[in-house]
């Protein structure tokens, strides 16, 4: 009845069920906190018209239309840092539709924020980190349907629980300024 094996069995069963109950409680508490006190983030993005050239990076096979950004951005993301926040993943994304009817969303800049002290974002005159390439049609140049919108989105990664996504700032209707050869 009280042999070594049954003792170990009972202790480990209790340990694993208590651990799972604790993790479930943390997840539910985080979800409730987000539902009752939703964080309000107001950010600003401003941008000059995006310069477009026909160019090719060494990793591509042929020349394409490429966009070059110059943007300013401010956002205060400290309300997102709770007791269960491990890190914040920020990304600046461009959304536009090209002439073939393809809706494109492209991440142009990102940053990982691990401490609440770094959560105030203030950037002036930044360029895009990743190449802004048009997939095939005329997305940026003559005949393009419209302008692009730029959004600052965040992904909150908790210590334990579900991943959360949200948008911190948005700038609509930014035109493209097409130059000929680079």
């Amino acid at each position: 009845m009280h042999s070594f094996f049954t003792r170990i069995n009972n202790v480990s069963a209790l340990l694993s069920s208590c651990t799972m109950a604790l993790l479930a409680a943390i997840t539910i508490a985080s979800l409730l906190q987000e539902a009752i006190y939703p964080p309000q983030i107001n950010g600003q993005i401003s941008m000059k018209p995006v310069k477009v050239f026909h160019a090719k990076t060494p990793r591509q096979r042929r020349k394409q239309e490429m966009g070059f950004l110059n943007f300013n951005m401010t956002a205060d993301l400290t309300p997102l840092f709770t007791w269960n926040t491990k890190q914040l993943f920020l990304s600046l994304e461009a959304e536009y539709e090209n002439i073939q009817g393809v809706n494109n969303t492209i991440v142009l800049w990102d940053r990982i924020v691990r401490r609440p002290e770094d959560a105030r974002v203030k950037i002036i005159g930044a360029k895009n980190k990743y190449a802004f390439k048009e997939i095939g049609g005329k997305g940026f140049g003559k005949g393009a349907p419209g302008n692009a919108s730029y959004a600052l989105k965040y992904n909150l990664m908790p210590y334990v629980g579900m991943l959360r996504y949200g948008e911190a700032a948005r700038l609509s209707d930014v035109p493209f300024d097409v130059r000929e050869e680079l």
Binding site: S91, Q100, T105, V107, R114, G136, K153, G161, Y165
Partner: protein, 189 residues
Amino acid sequence: MFTEELKAFRRLGFRHVFLQVLNFASVIASGLMIWKGLGLITNTESPIVVVLSGSMEPAFYRGDLLFLTNPPHERYHTGDITVYKIPGADIPIVHRVMETHDVSSPVKISGLDLKVLGEQLILTKGDNNHIDDIELYQGLDWLERKHIVGKVRGFLPYVGYITIAMNDFPQLKYALLGVLGLLALIQRE
């Protein structure tokens, strides 16, 4: 060392031993049913995966457990963390979506078959990598919906490290299976 157990087996007879084996088999079968049932609900072939590489640090480290779902008609957004498999490579890769291109009317994109409404082309990149995953795609320019196993919804830290340890040291796996099998057969309750 086992003389007592062997005497007990001979006393109880063949039926009892057979009952033990059947109990063992039913435990394994119900575990498999739960696993496959979970896969059906989440619409993915492996609803729980272990992170194998450090390419998503500091978000996910080696040995973290990830929970996936794969809603059949939902489109993927940039910023989603997806697990995908390239045909020809067996390992699932956990990276974040960098670009999505959604087709609204039939269009021919160079290098691919005709794409129709509802299809998506996706480009991914690991957080800890400097460049996107083009080299990992084995010749493809874009990922499509069919390559993606699922989207990460939640995670547990460290729990999966035991499967990595068992893969790196196969003797550990056999030793563990042997000990469990032995315990299951010689326990009398």
